[in-house]
């Protein structure tokens, strides 16, 4: 997995759009979408929303959780919680995609960008300390990381190599201990 693949997966999340055209229902393999009525909000997968938007056929409605107020609430929660706070699915992917490709449709996109970055920084710091803590424990090979987001897993992937090294080290030590006894 990498960031691009995470964004690909986020493309299947549903999002609200305001169509600018009228069109019949379309039967896709993944789902049926539409019918579309100009000016009447409807939900479609994000990839379709981006496609329609590129063709000037719709505007994307900023998800509620991406409003500055909601983002500030998440930030507060992130500060108060010791662990990670629960976020909507593919939070960072969707935020990045929208800021990059649809920022004209976002309300206060500059502010949103900053707040999302703040949230990311705060969570990243938490993850880093918890991973350091995890790697330095003596006997346990397992850590629980609820509510971690896909992109964060990608960012934390190097940890896997570290885990492997530790495992190999332990295995070697155990081997040599066994051969000694």
């Amino acid at each position: 997995m990498d960031a691009e693949k995470c964004e690909f997966l986020a493309g299947d999340e549903s999002i609200e759009i305001i169509p600018k055209l009228n069109a019949d229902e379309i039967h896709l393999i993944s789902a049926d979408v539409g019918p579309f009525e100009a000016g009447v909000g409807t939900r479609v997968p994000l990839w379709l929303a981006l496609l329609l938007r590129k063709k000037h056929y719709c505007t994307i409605v900023t998800p509620n959780w991406l409003s500055p107020d909601e983002l500030r609430r998440y930030l507060v929660a992130e500060t108060e919680n010791a662990g990670l706070t629960e976020l909507p699915n593919y939070f960072f992917e969707i935020a990045h995609i929208l800021v990059r490709e649809a920022h004209e449709d976002l309300l206060e996109s500059d502010l949103v960008k900053t707040l999302v970055q703040d949230l990311w920084d705060r969570r990243e710091a938490k993850l880093r300390t918890s991973i350091v803590k995890f790697l330095s424990q003596k006997n346990v090979s397992h850590a629980r990381l609820d509510y971690v987001q896909p992109t964060e897993v990608v960012a934390a992937r190097p940890t896997l190599a570290a885990c492997k090294q530790i495992a190999r080290l332990v295995a070697n030590i155990h081997d040599s201990q066994q051969s000694q006894t």
């Binding site: 691009e4 693949k5 964004e7 690909f8 590129k54």
Partner: protein
Amino acid sequence: MDAHEGIADAAIRLVQELKHNPNIIPPYDATLMRQCIDTLNRLYDQNARSLMDPTGDPSISPEQITTQREQRTAAIIYIWRCTTAYIHERACRIRSLRWRFGGILPISIRNNLSEAEIEFFNSYSSALADFQSSLGESGVNLMANTEPPKHLFVQVRVKEDYGEFETNDGNVVILNKNSLHSLPRQDCEMLIRRGILEIANP
């Protein structure tokens, strides 16, 4: 000891050749390879002889003979590792060539391969082709859709004359050097990888 360090030199150089050229396939080094194989065989013979005739050289103690043998074995394993690693790493790169250029190698790259490697490329190529045609009605194309799709079309600039190009849905476009095209991304991925087309940001 010193003699043995010298013995592995060719093997080390072989591996280094690849290390120092991480993104290309340097010419196949038959000379070094030959040297490694010869050294390895010589060491092996020496060991064999010393095993068969343990008292061959009275001036050396039996302990010393064993140590020598062990050293030779270590050298044999080391050289074996280097040579097989050389072939193995090159095989990896040859595989990636197949993904980049399709079934036909540019002559400049082909010239850098050994005969066995060209054979390997061809067998790998046909194994992949068989695999691709074994799926679906008309086969699948694993060389396309190599990245998560973002847009249906891509703007490309032609870097070298290519001539007629037929897209999947039957449109024929003439790809002349220095023309700019908007084409279905899926159709022209291969030409992009081969360097005939270059993505031009709109």
